[in-house]
């Protein structure tokens, strides 16, 4: 499975990354293709009747707690490190005209 420039552009768009120039594109393409070569050997593993393992904790379930207010959000503290805020909101370039 060999990636093309187009493939990398698509993935970069999905990941919200921007490649600066052709050099970065070529270098990344080589490195990714080298890496993906080692993935191909996995196809030879017999995984029939095996269920996927998402994490090590068997039988884990998300505990539900009572619907009681136990925490508060210190908006001022948390927003003090934001690049741009106004009226408790985070500012970004205009999305909707």
């Amino acid at each position: 499975m060999s990636l093309t420039n187009k493939d990398i552009e698509n993935i970069a768009n999905l990941a919200k990354l921007k490649l600066t120039d052709q050099n970065e594109m070529e270098s990344l393409k080589t490195k990714l293709n080298d890496l993906f070569e080692i993935f191909d050997e996995l196809q030879s593993a017999n995984t029939s009747n095996i269920s996927p393992m998402a994490h090590p904790i068997e039988g884990m379930f998300q505990k539900i707690r009572n619907d009681e207010i136990t925490e508060s959000v210190d908006r001022e503290n948390l927003q003090s490190i934001a690049p741009e805020t106004e009226a408790g909101l985070y500012l970004v370039p205009t999305v909707i005209e």
Binding site: L3, D7, I8, I11, A12, L14, A15, K16, L17, K18, L19, T20, L28, K31, L32, D34, L35, I38, F39, E41, L42, Q43, A45, T47, I50, S51, P52, M53, A54, H55, P56, I57, M60, Q62, K63, R65, D74, N77, L78, Q79, S80, I81, A82, P83, E84, Y90, V92, P93, T94, V95
Partner: protein, 485 residues
């Protein structure tokens, strides 16, 4: 002073041989003197440390504080959020990030009385095995400054190895505590997945990440782990197990202990020199009463490709939070929202991080999800099953931690797959969620070699027991680089 264990330092503090403030100043001085050569610290928190030390001295005065960690200087890997203090994850993305809260691990160690001297260098967002991927420059191995300390927790390991700090925290996703411990000649432990809360520990791969510790010996690691482990309601993956005293069984005899040697870890690919060091360690453990048998982990040969599918997949999701909106780096003059995201992320992240995000995005994308991600998760199950089977026959598994000793800076820069192979003995442990540790077992050309012990779920005490008994009859763990004495 430099080789005093935490227990010895705790005794000295209570005997008033020195105060915590004096001890703190001693290590701050050593950091100032030696760290420029190592670059193991990103931030040194002198005022914070002295305030904590003063507080510790007040509590020690009353002589009713049993916590061995009271007044003991440590360093925290810069992946743990520390309130009011820069937490960078060694990335330009978080160069300006002053954390508004403490990670649970930090909170617990603070409450136990540790004095934080600083935040240590690491591979950016914990992605790497050499500490060469840091926005703040590489960290150097104190045994040979031209060589890497290992990664991703390189700074934490180098600092303890150089004895500029008695202990430090790290994180281990594919080997990032054990491998630097091996390359730096110190003791490092990664507990069972879920033992230590991940709240406030900046996430790389959520099903693999686990906090760990570095110290000069196994007993110190046990003491630190006692104060770090425990259920945290703020971490939904943290285990709700009975509180464990990791020190309790340290001195048990090794008579009757069965140790498994996976034949795949001792193949002809293993360097003969490293093999010899491990053989010597095996002989010492046999003298202590342990018996050995060959076991097999047939799917461990798939662990590198599985790890480098699963970890990047999870990282691509975890790092999507870095978008220039709420914290961290924001690009200048974003033209629109898409530009804000793309340029903030592309300018903020280093190349290894970007590569892993792209890999993860690809293996999760439509059309490839089943062939790569689901396939890898199935093989992950098989790897975990192999360990379960092996550990039903033996108490622990043993082998080399790393396929090589510390390599030169830049040596693997153009060969990422060769860099990834550093994790060949360690990553399967994270995939299974088992505990693992590395202890110093010898040297090759004055470079440390580490021995890895892998335990069964929740059996860190067995690993620590074996490590401790070994350290009572050997002195590899007491060696330190002569240039730092």
């Amino acid at each position: 002073m430099l080789n005093k264990s935490i227990k010895e330092l705790a005794t000295s503090l209570r005997n008033k041989e020195f105060s915590s403030v004096e001890l703190t100043k001693f290590f701050l001085e050593r950091i100032k003197q030696h760290d420029p050569k190592l670059n193991s610290f990103i931030t040194i928190t002198e005022d914070h440390a002295l305030a904590q030390a003063k507080q510790a001295d007040k509590l020690l005065e009353n002589n009713d504080d049993n916590n061995l960690l009271r007044g003991i200087p440590i360093a925290q890997k810069d992946i743990f959020c520390t309130k009011g203090i820069k937490t960078s994850c060694a990335s330009k993305m978080l160069d300006n990030f002053i954390s508004p809260y403490n990670a649970t691990t930090v909170e617990k160690l603070n409450n136990a009385g540790t004095v934080m001297l600083g935040k240590t260098n690491m591979d950016e967002f914990a992605m790497g095995s050499s500490n060469e991927n840091s926005y703040y420059g590489p960290c150097h191995n104190p045994w040979d400054l031209d060589r890497v300390p290992g990664g991703s927790s390189g700074g934490s390991a180098a600092a303890v190895a150089a004895r500029i700090i008695p202990a430090s925290t790290g994180t281990d996703t594919g080997g990032s505590v054990r491998q630097p411990a091996a390359l730096c000649g110190i003791t490092g432990i990664k507990p069972t997945y879920g033992r230590v809360s991940r709240y406030g520990m900046i996430a790389f791969a959520s099903s693999l990440d686990q906090a760990g510790v570095f110290a000069t010996n196994a007993e110190d690691c046990a003491i630190l782990l006692n104060n770090m482990a425990g259920h945290d309601p703020k971490d939904s993956t943290s285990l709700n197990t009975e509180p464990t005293d990791f020190c309790k069984n340290l001195n048990n005899s090794l008579e009757g202990i069965k140790i498994g040697l996976p034949k795949e870890f001792f193949s002809e690919n293993l360097s003969p020199e490293i093999h010899q060091v491990i053989e010597n360690a095996i002989k010492e453990l046999e003298k202590l009463g342990a018996t050995f048998k060959e076991v097999t982990l047939p799917n461990s040969k798939h662990s590198i490709p599985v790890y480098y599918i699963v970890a990047p997949a999870e990282c691509s999701s975890n790092l999507s939070r870095f978008d220039g909106v709420r914290y961290g780096y924001r690009c200048e003059n974003p033209q629109d929202l898409d530009d804000l995201y793309k340029r903030s992320r592309s300018e903020g992240f280093g190349s290894e991080v970007k590569k892993r995000i792209l890999t993860g995005t690809y293996v999760l994308s439509a059309g490839y999800y089943d062939a790569y991600y689901i396939k890898a998760q199935k093989i992950r199950k098989m790897i975990a099953n192999d360990f379960k089977a092996a550990l039903s026959e033996v108490d622990v598994i043993l082998g080399p931690t790393s396929p090589n000793v510390a390599f030169k800076l830049g040596e693997k820069a153009n060969n990422p797959v060769s860099m990834y192979l550093n994790d060949i003995y360690t990553s399967s442990v994270n995939l299974a969620g088992l505990p693992g540790m590395s202890i110093p077992a010898g040297f090759i050309n004055n470079l440390p070699v580490g021995l890895q012990i892998i335990g069964n779920y929740l059996q860190e005490d067995k690993m620590l027991n074996i490590a401790h008994k070994y350290q009572q009859v050997t002195d590899w763990h007491q060696k330190m680089p002569s240039n730092f004495e």
